[in-house]
């Protein structure tokens, strides 16, 4: 009890000095999605902890909550002596953020995945080059597939989700161009981001069509995709990471999922091949930092591989398996990554660019 009191007192003392607040308003997906909202929140909390300021979250139940919740958050920030920053997380909040930000020109806002037709001086719009991290995981998927069929499960086909798909398919295409292996992609959409069951159903239907690796860019629906891959793999290899690893290393085919937004490899070790990460946490972190230190500058901020705004997970659990079954793939990936950072390979961000995309000019190092 005493300890708790002391801790409470300490936080009181710590927060008393700074009258600054970082408030995040989630979309209807809410916290607990293990990807989008949780990722941003982690970044905000990290910054808040470092600075010793208060961070709060309001979850939205429905779309008509966006305006009132953003308004509430802005009002809270206005009350603070040193201001603060309000985060709007998710493309669906575009209209609401624009309306509210106009009403509170002295409050800082940050929109994640939200872009405006006309930028506002008090709003940072964070966008990501999802296609660049998806390119890398697509390349690995193409290298690892045994059936020559890989799957894509998207949420709603909104621009960020589609950019993930373009990159993924471009990575697969790159592998085909460079290695001459034929890989087909089967696509599907859950048309929402919150129900894991829908992701699972779609994944199972793709698996039964002969797909053995699925990349999910579908928020919490993706958790269902991972579950489906895990169930199928466990049926073959038995439960537990050690069993799965031994089974996969022996060269027998298993089912894989590829995670999204944050490092989801831990969610099913050995089954989640890798994750296409998006620096939502980075955006959350810097948003708070900039607002606090007076370095805030409104406008569009696009984060890619170069800015470390998107990346691929470290493949903690699957690296050995990939090295054994697709030798050299990880090294080739490092090379391709450097080409993307140098701007020598431009990963497509539209359907037309994807159709025209090729890496025929690229020579892999021996």
């Amino acid at each position: 009890m005493k300890k708790v009191l002391a801790l409470l007192l300490m936080t009181l003392v710590l927060t008393a000095g700074f009258a600054f607040k970082a408030i995040m308003v989630t979309d209807t997906g809410g916290l607990g999605d293990k990807s989008f909202n949780d990722g941003t929140w982690a970044g905000i909390q990290r910054a808040a902890k470092e600075l010793g300021v208060e961070a709060k979250v309001i979850m939205s139940n429905e779309q008509s909550d966006y305006i009132p919740n953003l308004t509430k958050a802005a009002e809270e920030v206005l009350k603070e002596k040193d201001g603060g920053i309000v985060f709007a997380v998710g493309f669906m909040m575009q209209d609401a953020l624009e309306k509210v930000a106009r009403q509170y020109p002295t409050v800082y806002f940050a929109g994640i995945d939200i872009s405006f037709d006309k930028e506002l001086p008090n709003v940072i719009n964070f966008l990501f080059k999802e296609q660049e991290s998806a390119f890398l995981v697509g390349y690995i998927a193409a290298a690892m597939t045994r059936t020559g069929k890989v799957g894509f499960v998207g949420g709603i086909p909104i621009p960020p989700v589609e950019r993930f798909r373009y990159g993924y398919e471009a990575g697969i295409k790159a592998y085909m161009d460079l290695k001459g292996k034929k890989v087909t992609v089967i696509r599907g959409y859950t048309n929402e981001f919150s129900d894991p069951k829908k992701g699972k159903d779609l994944a199972n239907s793709q698996f039964s069509q002969g797909v053995d690796i699925i990349f999910a860019a579908a928020g919490a629906c993706g958790n269902g995709v991972i579950e489906a891959a895990k169930e199928r793999t466990e049926k073959l290899a038995g439960k537990g990471y050690e069993n799965i690893k031994k089974y996969a290393l022996s060269g027998k085919p298993v089912y894989y999922a590829i995670g999204v937004d944050v490092d989801q490899d831990y969610m099913a070790p050995g089954v989640v091949l890798t994750s296409a990460m998006k620096g939502i946490d980075t955006a959350g972190y810097y948003g708070v930092m900039w607002a606090y230190k007076g370095q805030f500058k409104g406008g569009l901020k696009v984060l890619g591989l170069k800015e470390n705004g998107v990346r691929m997970s470290e493949m903690k659990y699957t690296k050995e398996i990939i090295d054994k079954l697709a030798p050299g793939a990880i090294k080739e990936l490092e090379y391709l990554k450097s080409l993307i950072i140098e701007g020598k390979v431009i990963v497509p961000d539209s359907e037309e660019a994807l159709k025209a995309f090729t890496v025929k000019g690229v020579k892999l190092p021996r």
Binding site: T28, S60, N61, Q63, S64, Q94, V100, I158, E192
Partner: protein, 344 residues
Amino acid sequence: MRKVLESILVPVLAVLIALLISAFVIVAIGKNPLQAYAVLVRGAFGSKQAIIDTLIKTTPLILTGLAVGFGFRAGVFNIGAEGQMAMGALIAASIASNFGNIPPVVAIPLTLVIGMGAGAGWAAIAGFLKAKTGAHEVVTTIMLNWITTFVASFMVTGPLATGSGTPKSPEIAASAQLPILMKVGAMELSAGIIISLLAAVFMYVFLNKTTVGYEVKAVGFNPYAAEYGGISVSKNVVLAMAISGALAGLAGVTELMGVHHRFLGELSGGKGFDGISIALIGQNNPIGIIFAALLIGALRTGSNEMQFLGVSKYIVIIVQGIVIFLVAADRIVRTIYLRKKVKS
């Protein structure tokens, strides 16, 4: 008189008991329930903004509550309010975005009628299937809900999609938007709340003062007796579904014309299903439904404020669940009681 008092007492008691039980949950997560409830009330009614927010949320809930409640009175269980609401908004949005030069006097009623018509037509399919083939409306309306979901998400990502690719339709014409009654900051209360209250009056008058209403009620009460009395069962089943659907469509179209001004992917957001709980709490009575919707709307609005205290928004869902349980339990108790009476 006693009956009226009783029907008010049951939901009020249910709410109080639910708040009491939830208080224990709040204590269990280490917060002060009194403080939490104070914030809840302040968040729902404490300021002009809060009141506007509450009323905005209450508007569609009154209408879906009326839709389901009307269905219950007419003996049909319309689970499809969700789909009818979305259908009403979707069709209205696709037409009303082209209303460039039509003056508001025409555009507003026209859009409302389109929305109601779409909802009514969509629900009438289930009514027709029930009347002709006996297919139960619970099953068919759920199926129709899914069709709506997929049609809507196809429309907003395909033919209706606007520039940036977010799943939403273009804005409806300014002349088709409902007039704003009150505006604070970015929050606007539209005339939708008045429409919803008028709809409640309509339901009361229709059921209690008209012949058609009497027939619909009679079929709902006992279809065999009604048929024996010369009332067409199949006609009235279709009619009941259509009116119920029109009310749900109205919920969608007021949300479209008063709040979002465009069709969004998840516009209905479960409000059709909330209508079921609201009809239950409001005992299928139009006035009861208004208050039940206000209750749920206020809880939802206040819960957002409560989150600042670190109390999860799900507490409110617990409250809602317990209220429904208790209101439904009241019926169970009454039914058992009645059976016993009949036996003895």
